[in-house]
Subunit: 628 residues, 2 copies
């Protein structure tokens, strides 16, 4: 009786790194274009940027009447104001607010008379109006690449005017059940037959993971037959799963077929159940051998095939959640293998009790009954009765450690950085609270990095913040330079030339106090003879560049201050006033983070530089360099 | 301008109970039969019991040789034993072990000679054999009704010989987008148009929840058109979702159509976003009005439609998981509404920081960026910066509080009870460790209830356990009576009449010490002249009734002790010896549990009584009655 014994078993980590190497050596991620309407669960191949803004016009946020805010300023309970029907229009929620109007009064606050209305409250600029781009701004990142499409993403893509997307092709996988005793169904089962249930378990799991799956008919244990079927399948499928026959028995031919027609990398992984697993390659296609006992199938499949599917679909391996539980029985385990023990959980006397289920690899029902796994690592003998243990649940942990938190001033480059960071599985989560909001956030340790652009009295940018507001534990990292200037309508009808043009009838919209742009304006004003109190609209504060753009697009306002890239996106003309530095404050502890290292890697990369150069108004010198 | 204002807003709980009432009044759960192969995500209408056992024969658990265990007893390293090729056969993992053999020796422990083998280890009865039914026993509960089909369940059903199942019909749902401004796609969008993204968000969510969904073309805001479309839809669909138009604006006709053609139950729910939600009924069909702002849509949909889908598919509303996080900004909320604030999570300095995102109901992007919700209840003003708050995550909690933990002796009635408890959303998780194992478990507070059948020296059942092993904090609850007796082959070839027949050449298989059945045997023996040491096989201990049945089916064993229902399932003949009491030990704290109340409700029910009466060998007197 000729018989090969197992090659030396490898541990889980070694097995997965074999898959990593095989994948990067032999595979290239492929894409296809599909309709957003049928994209649920698919994975975008590239980041998706909005084609249109949402709303795509200034929209009423209420049912009511749209009018000019200045007509309402005097209104009060004691001084009702009458508007005639040429001074307002009725609007419903979502309706266009025509450009000549800039505020909406709620229906409940309006008294309707015959040809006029009475109002008793003053209304501010843009009150009850959703300015163009409030939700999504044309050109903004909607979905970073590799983020799986969910129903809410489908909604956002449609709102962004995106109906076709490029997604990663679904891998095509072939499952080959083997064994003389395997029959497809229970209809003519006789003693010694085993119904093929594993293939259908795997097929359904794979489809949920986003694969196209074909199950071949069960194959008999015959070397030549298997060689033919497996070799043929390597021509048609991305990878191949061979069910059972992965052991070293006299009728287990899988490893021999791989050895003689390709390369056998792994035969035996030190896990229990699941030990007789195989990783090999034939014709540059990965072959996975999955053992036949149902529980072994389950463990081996979720270890190897989940990982491989993540490689194909560019998903990161995230950790499973665990909970603490009290073990109801002593559990022994061999030192040689990492063992997966199924447990049932129950709450007795306010304690979570984990009761181990039957351990046999053939006990499929233990998987149905189990709430989670007690995983006993190699070199651990087991656990005592009443010991508190970690039970691994079948849900993933929310992953916050891969997220770099950015709080401060907004710029579109944050989207670009976030996009690039996704390549390495990291995420930039940015909140936009203005530059001084960012300084406060980093001081209070609420952010990892704070993007700021604050001009000092000495005409330098950002450096003074560390000495004036922070301490030596903080650093300033170089970002980018960007052009600030005045937004004006196409053709520049008011003939605005610079700050000194902000006089007479020219109407201006301002930014909020504490924003870098406001600080810049006030500094620029000091150098001219223009006085703030003489600028029409100096007191109208909006809180983003895009709101300023929306205001200037309307009839009511002639100009406002903002960055060039936003002006271009809104098809406004731009009069340059300054080149400012947009840099990043960090705390020294930030530097230790993997997510920060990914951030620095991105902003120093050529890829980032090339992407930024497709926008107007930016200059890159030494992004990522430590300034202080 | 004619205008109805909101009816009085109701809170979430009131809105959901309106749905509960409407559903139970107008709907009946419908079923259809489908193939197991295409059943992923579907919900079984009835509990599913195994058609065949798995394995369906005694199967080798190893590659090796099958032989008779008694031939191996003398074998040791110093005393190798030779077996000739008529005394064994070679088997691979999964092969049938013919009935004349009762043990398997691993290939590694066998030295192969020309026409014989040498072995150096003794092997016990059933060593390395998976007895018939080890995983699944014919007639056993595989999947309780209403448990959603997963890939592993598909595997288990196929192994149980089940290929067709009766499942709950997918509800058919119609989504009607409304609003003059709604356009289907972005291709010809003009100012004032809104791309219909909400319908596709809802459709995709509904399909994931298991519904069949049709989106009608966007309808203009016209009372007559809407009346026609909605009324017509009530004839074709199970329920209807009307997108937008759910407010009380001059063009919001939904509530008027419902009022005039059916009944309007809810107009306004005190949540934010999501307030202008509607619940009504026309032609006995539920109509849900979902507000049009994307975030309102999201909140209102997940509140109302998730709940309704759970009613249709008999799923329990389970709680979402929460994590503690430190709030990065002060958050105000109105006292009037329960507010859902989207937050981003990040880990800064080993603390989870929650940063609130933009709050506008129109900010779809806040949903894409959010990791969870800060839910601010009504009557709470908000939270301070740096306050620790609960963030609700988009994953469900593992639900252990609905589980009643039963540890002790096994009987098929536990499956029936579990099945019935699912009707009320509870679960019975049973571990089978024998009666005395159950006593220990309840004493150590590891179980809620412990099923036992232990005969005392005074010929009473179970009562003595409380005084001898437990204390006054424990109670005994009546279960069922069941017939114990001897299993014999069809035709009773050894002419076994009772315990006194256990002599001479009759071979017997015993149960493990501490099991109720073993205690019964030993008590019965005391009343006869038969001595344990004279019974052939008295020392062969198996640990379940089904293993005993499998042994008696084989050629090697003539009889064994077990319960009638198992004998019948294995087509064995049965010689009654005793009617025993199978009761439940509980701790007094168990009585407070909702899951225990559900358990008692079940065992007192007619439904349970009828189901048990379909099995043989049971007698029900007063199940659920407190004995002590």
């Amino acid at each position: 009786m000729k018989r090969d014994y197992y090659l030396k078993s490898v541990n889980e980590e070694e097995a997965l790194s074999v898959l990593d190497n095989l994948f990067s050596e032999h595979y290239e991620t492929q894409s296809e274009v599909i309709s957003v309407y049928n994209s649920i669960g698919r994975v975008p191949f590239k980041s998706l940027y909005a084609n249109v803004s949402s709303p795509s016009y200034n929209a009423s946020a209420m049912d009511g009447i749209a009018t000019k805010s200045k007509l309402t300023y005097e209104a009060s309970e004691t001084n009702p104001i009458t508007l005639y029907n040429i001074q307002y229009i009725e609007v419903n929620t979502g309706n266009v607010v025509p450009l000549e109007y800039d505020t909406v009064i709620m229906i409940e606050d309006v008294e309707f008379l015959d040809e006029s209305i009475k109002i008793i409250k003053s209304h501010a600029l843009f009150e009850n109006i959703r300015p163009i781009g409030e939700d999504i701004v044309k050109g903004e990142l909607v979905v970073p690449k590799y983020q799986k499409i969910t129903p809410i993403i489908i909604g956002a893509l449609l709102s962004s005017g995106i109906t076709k997307i490029e997604v990663i092709k679904q891998p095509k996988i072939c499952i080959i059940p083997t064994g003389d005793e395997i029959v497809k169904s229970s209809e003519d089962i006789k003693d010694g037959d085993i119904i093929d249930s594993n293939s259908y378990f795997m097929k359904n799991e794979l489809e949920l993971l986003g694969a196209e799956v074909k199950i071949l008919p069960p194959q008999i244990d015959d070397y030549d037959t298997l060689t033919k079927v497996i070799t043929k399948s390597t021509e048609l499928y991305d990878f191949i799963i061979i069910g059972a026959g992965s052991s070293a028995g006299s009728k287990d031919f899988t490893y021999q077929v791989i050895k003689n027609n390709g390369t056998l990398y792994v035969h035996g992984i030190s896990i229990k159940p699941g030990k007789p697993s195989i990783i090999g390659e034939i014709n540059n296609k990965i072959i996975i051998g999955i053992p036949g006992y149902p529980v072994s199938t389950y463990i081996s499949f979720h270890l190897l095939v989940d990982h491989l599917m993540n490689l194909f679909t560019k998903q990161r391996n995230t950790k499973k959640q665990t909970i603490k539980a009290k073990l109801s029985r002593r559990v022994y385990s061999s030192l040689k293998n990492k063992e997966y023990i199924r447990v049932q959980l129950g709450n007795v006397n306010n304690e979570t009790i984990a009761s181990p289920l039957k351990r046999g690899a053939g006990i499929q029902m233990s998987l149905l009954k189990s709430d989670g796994f007690l995983i006993v690592d190699r070199n651990i003998e087991g656990y005592e009765r009443n010991q508190m243990v970690d039970i691994t649940l079948p849900v993933r942990e929310p992953n916050t450690t891969q997220t770099l938190v950015a709080i401060g001033s907004h710029d579109i480059i944050l989207d670009v950085i976030n996009d690039c960071m996704h390549d390495d599985g990291f995420k930039l989560a940015s909140s936009h609270v203005g530059s001084f909001g960012g300084v406060l956030a980093i001081k209070n340790k609420e952010s990892h990095i704070s993007p700021i652009h604050i001009l000092s009295k000495n005409n330098t940018y950002n450096k003074h913040i560390i000495s004036e507001y922070l301490d030596k534990d903080y650093h300033l990292i170089e970002g980018i330079k960007r052009r600030q200037g005045l937004f004006v309508k196409v053709g520049n009808p008011c003939n605005i030339r610079g700050i000194s043009s902000l006089k007479g009838d020219v109407t201006f919209v301002n930014r909020q106090k504490g924003s870098g742009t406001r600080i810049l304006l006030d500094q620029l004003l000091l150098k001219t003879s223009v006085k703030a109190e003489n600028i029409k609209g100096y007191d109208y504060e909006l809180s983003t560049h895009t709101q300023v753009a929306a205001a200037v697009l309307s009839d009511r306002y002639d100009t406002g201050l903002g960055i060039e890239s936003v002006a271009k996106r809104y098809n406004l003309e731009f009069i340059e006033l300054a080149m400012e530095s947009y840099d990043f404050l960090i705390h020294k502890d930030t530097m230790k983070l993997e997510s920060y290292k990914a951030f620095i890697k991105v902003i120093k990369s050529d890829d980032f530089r090339n992407k930024i150069n497709t926008y107007e108004g930016y200059l890159l010198e030494h992004p990522g360099k430590k300034i202080i």
